[in-house]
Amino acid sequence: MTLLEVKDLNVSFQTADGVVRAVRGVSFDVEPGRTLGIVGESGSGKTVLTQTLLGLTPGAEVRGSAMFEGENLLELPDDQLRKVRGAKISVIFQDPLTSLHPLYKIGWQISEMIRAHDRSVSKKEAAARSVDLLRRVGIPKPDTRVNDYPHQFSGGMRQRAMIAMALALEPKLIIADEPTTALDATVQAQILDLLLRLQQDLGTALIMITHDLGVVADIADDVMVMYAGRAAEKAPKRDVFYHPHHPYTLGLLESIPSSSAAGGRLKPIPGSPPSLINLPAGCKFHPRCSYAFAKCRTGDDPVLRPIDEGGVHESACWLPATSAGLSAEAEQLRKETAALGHEPVPAKGQPVGRHRAPDGGAATPGAASNNEGSVA
């Protein structure tokens, strides 16, 4: 059963400069025990999206639905939402220092979290559970460290404490918002390893928000790439990395320095993301897109549509489905389409043969049929 089903979510904010359309018609599903990676640059709406689900965007104008265990999170009254938050859906934020109270001991903060949701737990029991949680997230000497204050913890340990707190009530879903961005590489590896292990032990679903494609490649099952408040592409992980369809996804992958391109020139995406107050007409990516044609500039803003047979790989781009991928032929097809303004060969009914089944390793066992939520 689908754990979280978000449909056509729109979030906008009234500001002095105009309406900021932070999220525009985003739909996605999260299955139990799976990880959805949401990738996007600053201002793409990835954080607003998840915070809205938890009622953490006061003053926002919200449309759409977010069904979680049969309830629409967007319509729950505050007191009921409070019971969901922390107990069933918990959050790990980017900066653990600002998310922990500096004047309370770590153990107290975890106990408080437990007791806030269940008054029947005694203080003693809660304290014992705090120690156990710290042990599970790999804090050495947890029985003495529970009495430490946040400043006595290193950055990595604070993030572990945040994870302990997020796990305290064994939630069904954890939303991790850039949980490793503030950490060093070796500590980031520790935290990602911890999240993966906890997820496998407890079967928790995870939404991983990040700007780092490397993190997504490591731990996500499915990936949603966001641009200017909208999902540009959504697919099982391997499809996004090896058969990207949306030129924005392609651009992101190409602009990362990698061993193969060492010393050579990088291929950046020209320009910068649009203002969310003053969005361009047509496809919001077209001013930066090297394959844009007339339809992209003036037509409708493209929405996600399936581009493979199984319907698990979706892209919001007018380029032909067969142009997905990193191969030279795909590149040729994209260029020809852009030059002509439509698909060059009249083989519209041609089956899309390039979709590879996810195989091998820890990649995506049984990835299909999880991503059918389409945008209305």
Binding site: Q188, R197, D201, A217, G251, S255, P268, A362
Partner: protein
């Protein structure tokens, strides 16, 4: 290769045994020093003309402190810094002043490194004003040339930093650094705050400017792929010391120091299959405090290969002969290691040097400190 006073045609900057300690103070009225932060401890390196030396390390490894010492922004506790053959660590402020234009910096945060209340033209024009090289209309013309060169619209001369995006602000920082045609630009995490698509724009710009003006870069970053992309030579720092240094290709292809191996394996690659196939080395614990660094090899408490000797004896930075033909020791750099493990080399040079008693051999797998008390295994088959 090098002469004793540090001059060499190819070498722009030579750092010799630089130490930088910061005092730790305690007490209110009777304020006294209770310890030293060993930010940089006995580091030597060279930066060649027109080349990029990448400096990698985690928070607190001393890479930014070292950069400040190289720029002459803070006095060194001990050691020497030669710029173009001149020992700048002994110069007075006045004597240092004309040399300052040779070294410029680009900072990490394009938001806090630009004064929000000054116009972009004034910010970029400051170096000309300070060094009295151009005034009035000529200064404006030079600033606009610089703006054009770094990809900014010269008509935006009168705008404030707030009117620019993060990537554009970083270009302003680059223009300011470039103004006096320096020989060396120290880039301290210049792209860390930028989104990937913008990051690539700035990296390309830096590469173009290097070719055009023959600049040398000291490039500090924590992103290993970025460092690999831009660097000719790479040095890895850990707790104030250089653990390993080599030409970039050699370091990434065959890292020898266990810390370098762990660091490289920890860096997430944007490739799911590579990520699944990779043997990730997870280190135990955190970086120890630089106030009281471990004895012997500073990495030994976290090192999966540590032996008894590692806690006692500091390993020298030497070549290890199973690496193939090692370039000979540079003249004037002391005797070869008496233990016969290898010959000392200077980071930034052509040799691959490692400060480790038990360097990782090709094909070796390091033990990983996995999260305890969680039973499930997730090693790819």
């Amino acid at each position: 290769m090098a002469t004793a006073n540090g001059t060499d045609d190819n070498v722009l900057v030579r750092v010799e045994n630089v130490v930088k300690h910061f005092p730790v103070k305690a007490g209110g009225f009777f304020r006294h020093t209770v310890g030293q932060v060993h930010a940089v401890d006995d580091v030597s390196l060279v930066i060649e003309r027109g080349k990029t030396l990448g400096l990698v390390g985690e928070t607190g490894s001393g890479k930014s402190t070292l950069a400040r010492c190289v720029a002459g922004l803070i006095p060194v506790t001990a050691g020497k810094v030669f710029l173009n053959g001149t020992n700048i660590s002994e110069l007075s402020r006045g004597a240092m002043r004309p040399l300052r234009r040779e070294v410029q910096m680009i900072f990490q945060d394009p938001y806090s490194s630009l004064n929000p209340r000054r116009r972009v033209g004034a910010i970029i024009g400051d170096p000309f004003a300070i060094h009295k090289t151009a005034t009035g209309a000529e200064r404006k013309r030079m600033v606009q040339e610089l703006m054009e060169r770094v990809g900014l619209n010269p008509e935006h001369f009168n705008r404030f930093p707030a009117e620019f995006s993060g990537g554009q602000r970083q270009r302003i920082g680059v223009a300011r650094a470039l103004a006096l045609r320096p020989k060396l630009i120290i880039c301290d995490e210049p792209v860390s705050a930028l989104d990937v698509s913008i990051q690539a724009q700035v990296l390309n710009l830096l590469a173009d400017l290097q070719t055009e003006y023959g600049l040398s870069y000291l490039f500090i970053a924590h992103d290993l792929e970025v460092v690999r992309h831009v660097s000719d030579k790479v040095a890895v720092m850990y707790l104030g010391r250089i653990g390993e240094a080599a030409p970039a290709d050699s370091l990434y292809r065959q890292p020898r120091h266990p810390y370098t191996v762990a660091l490289l394996s920890a860096a997430p690659a944007a490739d799911p299959d590579a990520a699944a196939a990779r043997q990730r080395v997870i280190l135990a614990g955190d970086v120890p405090s630089p106030i009281d660094p471990p004895a012997g090899c500073r990495f030994h408490p976290r090192c999966p290969k540590a032996q008894e000797i590692c806690g006692r004896v500091e390993p020298p930075l030497v070549t290890h002969d199973d690496l193939g033909p090692a370039a000979g020791p540079p003249a004037g750099w002391g005797p070869a290691d008496p233990a016969g493990a290898g010959v000392p080399g200077i980071p930034g040079g052509e040799t691959h040097v490692t400060a480790c008693h038990f360097p990782v051999v090709p094909g070796e797998t390091l033990a990983s400190a996995r999260t305890p008390a969680i039973a499930a295994e997730r090693e790819p088959a």
